[in-house]
Symmetry: C3
Subunit: 475 residues, 3 copies
């Protein structure tokens, strides 16, 4: 797609704009000239953006006269000539082609070389591309930068997540020069240290949802576990004890048992670390000591845990809603009430219970959906800190409470019935975690506990600690 996108950009730039940034007029003597090696997608997009931001651009190419469409206003020349004109050279070349740069050592002496390259895979080379380049041309100042941006981001300008340009390198002045270019292009430059951080920067664009990994593993693990459990309890049991083949129930009925259970457990996992952190702070009497690593990591993936739980809740809702379709469309089901020829003994208590069960479930799901919507980046950005924390904690715990109550109402008197093969129904197991969570949260909400915790979170420290440290003045 980038190829056709680029051509559309090229079309937009009217030929007249050439005259705006001529290579040597007196009208704009302050416009800096930058050099780009490489006329691929990225090189062309970068040149386009640089030209738009008021720089002059010259491309270095092996075939300066047949290197394809360049942004209007840019010149192409040999690598040697181009390198000599500018003090800052962008290398938009694949690492495999770095070798030829050695021949340019004299021209690149003392220049700032910006390495924008990425690799197709992690750990393809033992050394970072930028470090390899520095070794190749020791006289140049190599700065790793811009590699986290796509050609697309360069063409369309910085947006929310594409605003930051990470850079690293050994020379402070070289980094400053690159940071200035980034700032002028509308990006925010973030210094990540010396060139030894290049490896880390080069791994950035290769990451695939790193913060989703753990939550997804948890979700898959839980799903598998509970699926096996309900298959044993519902299908295997019926087959062994009653000789019935219930296997078809896997597709809808059992799936609809697994989804709500995973959803409820993951929702609890999303709020549990916050409660645990509260108890740790209470126990330690200070907020100034770091949490254990496992809790840190757990807290950082709460949003992902919650969103996956929302996905499962959505599946549960849709699977529940299709239940009646299977009865009315001539499917192989028929109504229990009809099949069993039950007389319609109407029981108000049962009616209250089932209707409450449905109603609480819907309200819980709606609140859950609201939490999901407010975690969309553009919505949460529009909220003040107080509003965001109100929604995510107050409404969040209300959601947990509704969903737990929904499950208790589903169980109702079922908690007392004898178990098949000593295995309690799966939904009972799913209630353990949310029940614990709710009890712990209620403890934290007790007035005396709440007061202590609030003080600690405002910077107060318990003074009965053995090191005799005084109450901190500044928080």
């Amino acid at each position: 797609m980038s190829a056709d996108r680029l051509s559309s950009v090229s079309k937009e730039v009217k030929p007249e704009s050439v005259s705006l940034y001529p290579l040597g007029t007196a009208a704009a003597p302050e416009q800096e000239l930058l050099c780009i090696f490489g006329t691929g997608d990225f090189g062309r997009s970068l040149g386009q953006r640089l030209l738009h931001s008021g720089y002059r651009v010259v491309y270095g190419s092996r075939r300066p006269h047949s290197c394809g469409p360049l942004p209007q206003g840019a010149q192409a020349m040999s690598h040697e000539a181009a390198a000599q004109l500018a003090s800052l050279v962008f290398l938009c070349i694949h690492r495999e082609h770095y070798d030829f740069l050695e021949t340019l050592t004299p021209q690149l002496q003392g220049k700032v070389l910006v390495d924008v390259s990425n690799n197709p895979k992690k750990n393809l080379y033992p050394e970072a591309n930028a470090e390899c380049l520095q070794r190749l041309i020791p006289g140049a100042h190599v700065v790793k930068a811009f590699n986290t941006l796509s050609a697309w981001a360069l063409q369309n300008g910085p947006s929310d997540a594409n605003r930051q340009v990470y850079l690293c390198g050994n020379g402070a002045e070289a980094k400053q020069a690159v940071a200035e270019v980034a700032t002028k292009l509308g990006f925010a430059a973030l210094d990540k240290g010396s060139l030894s951080a290049a490896k880390e920067l080069e791994d950035f664009p290769l990451q695939l949802f790193p913060e989703w990994r753990m939550p997804l593993y948890v979700a898959v693990g839980l799903t598998a576990l509970i699926f096996v459990y309900v298959v044993i309890r519902d299908v295997v049991y019926a087959f062994v004890e009653q000789g019935k083949d219930n296997s078809f129930r896997i597709m809808v009925s059992l799936a609809n048992k697994v989804f709500p259970i995973v959803s409820l457990i993951m929702l609890s996992l999303c709020y549990l670390p916050g409660v645990i952190a509260g108890f740790i702070q209470l126990y330690r009497g200070t907020k100034y000591r770091r949490f254990p690593d496992w809790l840190d990591r757990w807290m950082l993936c709460r949003k992902q845990l919650g969103l996956i739980a929302l996905g499962f809740a959505f599946l549960h809702m849709v699977y529940t809603l299709i239940i009646p379709i299977r009865y009315v469309t001539g499917a192989p089901y028929s109504f229990k009430s009809i099949r069993e020829n039950r007389t319609s003994v109407f029981d108000t208590t049962t009616a209250w219970r089932t209707d409450s069960y449905y109603s609480i479930g819907i309200l819980g799901f709606s609140l859950f959906l609201l939490l999901g919507i407010t975690s969309l980046p553009s919505v949460s950005n529009a909220l003040s800190w107080r509003e965001f924390s109100f929604i995510q904690s107050k409404l969040g715990y209300l959601t947990v409470f509704f969903c737990t109550l929904h499950t208790y109402l589903y169980g109702w008197s079922g908690f007392l019935r004898p178990y098949k093969w000593y295995m309690p129904p799966a939904y009972m197991l799913s209630l353990v975690l949310p029940s614990v969570l709710i009890v712990l949260k209620l403890l934290l909400l007790l007035p005396c506990v709440d007061r202590s915790l609030t003080r600690i979170r405002q910077g107060w420290e318990r003074t009965d600690m053995q090191d005799g440290s005084e109450k901190p003045l500044l928080t």
Copy 2:
């Protein structure tokens, strides 16, 4: 959470970056030194950001050698020493600790003091924090700023809603200096006037959905009113007149009567002010006079009214979809057709009516959902003004029309039946407002009326006004 977030930031900054911004090198003589009092979350995040943006930072602390982890590249020293080095001091201290600043009066003389503090509650103190500070150290130039940002926003850089830094103070030059720092950090500085505006700024982060308050009150009020009405009509009536206990119907059936009614009324309330404004402009013959205050405030919460209405419409849809589940899952319901042993007299007119009723309802809800999606900040930002107004007005009125038609089809011949206790069914009451809205809108769409209104909105003024003012040239 901010504590662990901060530490992760600190980890990212490699020790090498220290050498980039040394406190006294000749390489970067232009880097300004700023001072921060307070090493809490906010102080550390602010220092981090300042360092990233090319400033040098020194912390003032009571315990310079044990004040916990500071951003790499920053120094900590005594308050006196730190204040003397910089001409601009950020105070990241709670108001309770301001008193000690009096001892620093000589060092702070003539300095710009940036008060970033917030209070945990509104009206905790009679005087704004910044004003109290100015009174304490009259020789300093106090500027209130940055208090609307969270430590989180400082660390992650400005985003959509966190882009603006409000500032106020009595000295123009002091404000200019703070505005420059804010701009360099990537924020947009917005001057709010003299220090007497500090109170207003300090109340900003304490606001909890101010623009949602009125619509929520309306929603709660309407819901309560209609709920009581349908309870009387359906439950109390059945109990008094027929001795039947219908109370269980509250959870699903009655809820599902209340939700669509509230939704339809609030949807009308969302579009009514626009129509009223049109009539006022037509009557006045100009768009240059302000609307009455109540209309102004009403128009400002249209988006919120619409979104709450969408929430109720969503609940209505889900509550409707679960109706059949209660019949097929062995619940205490049975089919009317079965119970009453009705013979299946098929009636095409009724079939057309019920199917149209469902179909129109779904289409109305889908349009409504589309309106909701386009009001997400990131989506509405991506639309041109003309596109946004096309969706919100054209599609909006189509939604109103569909939802009203849906309700009329629901009523059908029911409008003519005798009422229980002289109380018409609730849905009939809900039709009043949308019907009025549609009639008014149709009046505005009459070619002659539409032409006048368009001219007025383009700046034309009726000339038969008594003050004899001429047609304005510039609009």
Copy 3:
């Protein structure tokens, strides 16, 4: 709405702020003075923003003493006086009022005139507003700019889609001056060439979803076609052959046949161009030649095709879920099983088939919804390029596969039944395109083909081409 919005802005600015930017103090000698002609919504919002960004502003007005509320800190004077003070004049006037500017020719000589005007309709005038202005005052440097912004965007500052200011004009220096103002206001200036591009810029804000046009035409065309087909097959056939009036089925049953078919076809149309592009690149052996125009245009509207398909899928889901309601609420339907007094012959194969059919459909729809959510601007901005392409291609093809499988399971043994009037059921027709797509995609995934394509996309070119061009070094 803009009128009341503006007044609220004016209220926010405290009177004290006047003293901050006085018209002639020595304290701020570097603040540039700009002139605005026109005191309408746009002029006032622009002035407000300019004042906030540190400029001084003077308004030119015919009635300087009665021109309504101006932003605090701005002065109003006659056009002549205002024009003389500033070197840059913003014209916030409708084109019809340009004529009076001729009288100001001496004052405007050599000045930069920024034309911000828009027209209510396309092609209202043969000449662009800015070109007309340049003809009127040949001695001024006319720059077209800021016309794509709304008064609202000016007041609230740049946001995602409102960040770019397009400008064009004949003078490079004049454009540079306007670009600097835009940058200082927080916008990104994008040069679009000489004044002959003004027409294009003036058409920008008048566009109504240009990129949605084609996909919408396709959707409407397909819907009409398939609707006619199913009406003939289901309603007309039943009427002609059996004399039954099935017309009521149009509202729900037939709609629910049309929606999924259109959705599936459009989903295939969304992924087909990517596959075709792959085959073209394989055939040509290079990625450096442009795709044919029709493919270019097709690829640019893939997102819109997909989102419309999602809308139809949503309608299909809701229409499916309401099916059972019509049976249980005393509607003119009754259960096939009851009507036909069928004995409940339970068939495990059929149970597996129907349950799989529902389950696969729900999973397909959920994946589809996930694709839709990730295409929200704020979500896709938060993804890295690799994450975005993973979701849109890997999960996208999985969605196509699930939805196609869902349709095959729906058909089941129906493929072999004789057709009414030689017309196969519509869902069979809908399977052609997705089946072709899946086969083509599988071909591209064959290891040998995949390897070639990956190499081509990394910049490799086939060397057996007749022009003997060598393998390019730089990509």
